[in-house]
Subunit: 390 residues, 2 copies
């Protein structure tokens, strides 16, 4: 088996150059874990030890091996806790039922406990706070509790304990294999993904804003009637990113110290930054909407001569620079150095913008395009506001 794994390494390293390398790495890691855990069946001394309980180890590997290391660890710990709690309570309930009533009384007690625990635990699963982090653990709790308590009808006291402890042992084996492979072979961290996606969003927003500005200038000066759109799909997909962010932050919290991230790294801040970036994306989208609203380039051009386009562009490029700078400093995880510079730039942008507003001859126009320009300027101001929040 080792031989097979090694012979696949050249293929792995070739595929690493492709875009979905991470997916392939993950798939191969799952394959390796499955082969490793199958050794429980292949190697005689191991099989004699665990016997048919080895199916629980395989099940653990298939079910808990998730894409990122944090998700795997979280699911494994959930499974472990659920198994221990469910098994423990199940044993107690089974022993109680055996001591209290024989025959039919026994069955009624067990049936009632199955119903009560099943109902309450399922209800708990539906609470958002439990669902977010412990959904899988509660499910495993229900499953283990039922299996243990119900097999208590057929099997004697001592054997229930024995079965429960053996299964727990094999589940731990599966978990250990998962964690080792997940953390030691090309680990894929959810924290890295969250960090990178947040950083790249700064760049995407800067690009969208840049594209918007260029389009605007081109539209006004060259009288072209071409619509943008490419850069806005990024903005739109950014609006939907909330649930993914929350999931990643959730996984990232499970991940131990590694690379540049310490313990108790403030993942909530990423969520807050994400929130502001989403609002910013919405405003940039509205800005793009203003652009697309004016259908006649001729009229717009006449309007634009009254508004100082150059200064608008200058302001816009300052905001773009700020966004890029913020993204960079976040990427390199340095803080503070560039901050005075950034706030100075923003202050300048704000001042210039009010100058544009004050001196522009919006006064002289009465049609819809003028309004579009006005909104554009206004929303530009809002973009400045939003960026200041970051």
């Amino acid at each position: 088996n080792k031989l097979i794994q090694f012979s696949l390494f050249p293929i792995t390293s070739y595929l690493r150059q492709k875009k979905d390398t991470k997916k392939i790495i993950h798939s191969i890691k799952v394959g390796i874990s499955l082969v490793l855990i199958s050794l429980l069946y292949f190697v005689d001394p191991l099989y004699e030890q665990v016997g048919d309980n080895a199916i629980w180890a395989i099940m653990t590997v298939v079910v808990t091996f998730e894409f990122s290391a944090g998700a795997t660890l979280g699911k494994g710990l959930n499974r472990g806790m659920g198994t221990i709690l469910g098994g423990g309570l199940g044993c107690i309930a089974a022993v109680l039922a055996q001591n209290v009533g024989g025959g039919i009384g026994n069955s009624i007690i067990i049936g009632t406990s199955v119903f009560i625990f099943g109902t309450i635990a399922t209800y708990c699963r539906l609470f958002p706070s439990v669902k977010k982090r412990y959904d899988y653990g509660v499910m495993i709790f229900i499953l283990t509790f039922n299996l243990v308590v119900v097999s208590g009808v057929r099997i004697q006291d001592q054997k229930v304990w024995k079965i429960a402890s053996e299964r727990l042992l094999t589940i731990v084996m599966g978990f250990v294999v998962c964690i080792c492979v997940s953390f030691l072979v090309f680990p894929l961290w959810a924290s890295d993904e969250l960090h990178d996606s947040t950083v790249s969003r700064f760049q995407h927003l800067a690009n969208a804003l840049q594209g918007c500005l260029e389009e605007y200038v081109k539209f006004a000066t060259e009288k072209e009637n071409k619509k943008a759109g490419a850069s806005f799909t990024v903005c739109k997909s950014l609006l939907d990113s909330k649930s993914k962010d929350e999931m990643l932050a959730n996984f990232a919290k499970w991940e131990p110290w590694h690379g540049k991230f310490g313990f108790f790294y403030p993942w909530e801040k990423y969520l807050k930054i994400g929130e502001v970036l989403r609002e910013l994306a919405a405003i940039i989208l509205a800005l793009g909407g203003c652009l697309q609203a004016s259908t006649t380039p001729m009229e717009l051009a006449s309007v634009c001569q009254t508004v100082q386009l150059e200064s608008c562009e200058a302001i816009g490029s300052r905001i773009v620079w700020t966004l890029q700078e913020l993204g960079d400093s976040m990427n390199q995880m340095r803080k503070g150095e560039a901050e005075p510079q950034i706030s100075a730039k923003l202050k300048a942008a704000r001042a210039e913008l009010s100058l544009v507003i004050a001196t522009s001859k919006i006064a002289a126009i009465e049609n819809i395009d003028a309004l579009a320009v006005a909104s554009f300027v206004f929303l530009l101001k809002k973009v400045v506001d939003k960026v200041e929040e970051l």
Copy 2:
């Protein structure tokens, strides 16, 4: 057990008056299913039939019983298909390995097949289209394949087939119990939830727009400096609704004909309507942002006298009426009757709005508040555009 279930009915009916009735119904349904499937252990003739394979039935109930009927059916069918495919391929691989090489050769063939199938299937799980509908099925495929092929090392030909068919039988039992309880006892349909949430969004957006308009008028006339915000949180939560909608539509597709929904009901249209409603929510949020931008009520008031506030308000209330009407007609699933009326209203609103824009004396003002008003009017026009899209 039946007795216990019936004695709980009064409690159920009491709890039905509460808000989270659905959650409680779901929990109790899970409890009932668990008790029913436990009968496999309690009733001697049944236990003699299935033996220890009954754990697979319990596992199926715990794992596949989901909140809505469609999700349960989808997960159950996924589990069934995954088990059959995985079991079949596993048997073939196990038999092949036994015939080709004995001893170490056997192990190598099985180990290789575990690695190859595990890797390929895991890679498939990562494709978005597979992940959306068949993620669980592929996982069960990997699990079953591994269990069957690996136990082939230890058990003889005939027995592998016997174990596989017995397990499939118990899984089908668990599935039947799930489906019966899920569909026959107070069914909770994902389609109902999708329909209701879409309808209620029309109302929410209408309320938000209404609140925005009222606030605006009050702000301008009574010179109050109070900020809104309550109605906008709904808009914000609406922006995040995409993934939830997609999930529900996905479940709804699994659900058979029931109530007012026929076969092949166009669930994609709900997703499209949801998309437009999200864009509308973004614009209404921007509208609210315009309102909050003007900090000095005095200045705003002087501006507002030049813009015909009353007509703005009239236009706004027409849009509100349209939204409510659209929501109503969607709720009652009638179509067409109100349509000419609605489009007439929208046309009127559009005409009035351009009148307001043409005659307003935005010309006379030079400060930021004027721009806010201009944007407000402009965005109001965009709201009209969006509503027309519906």
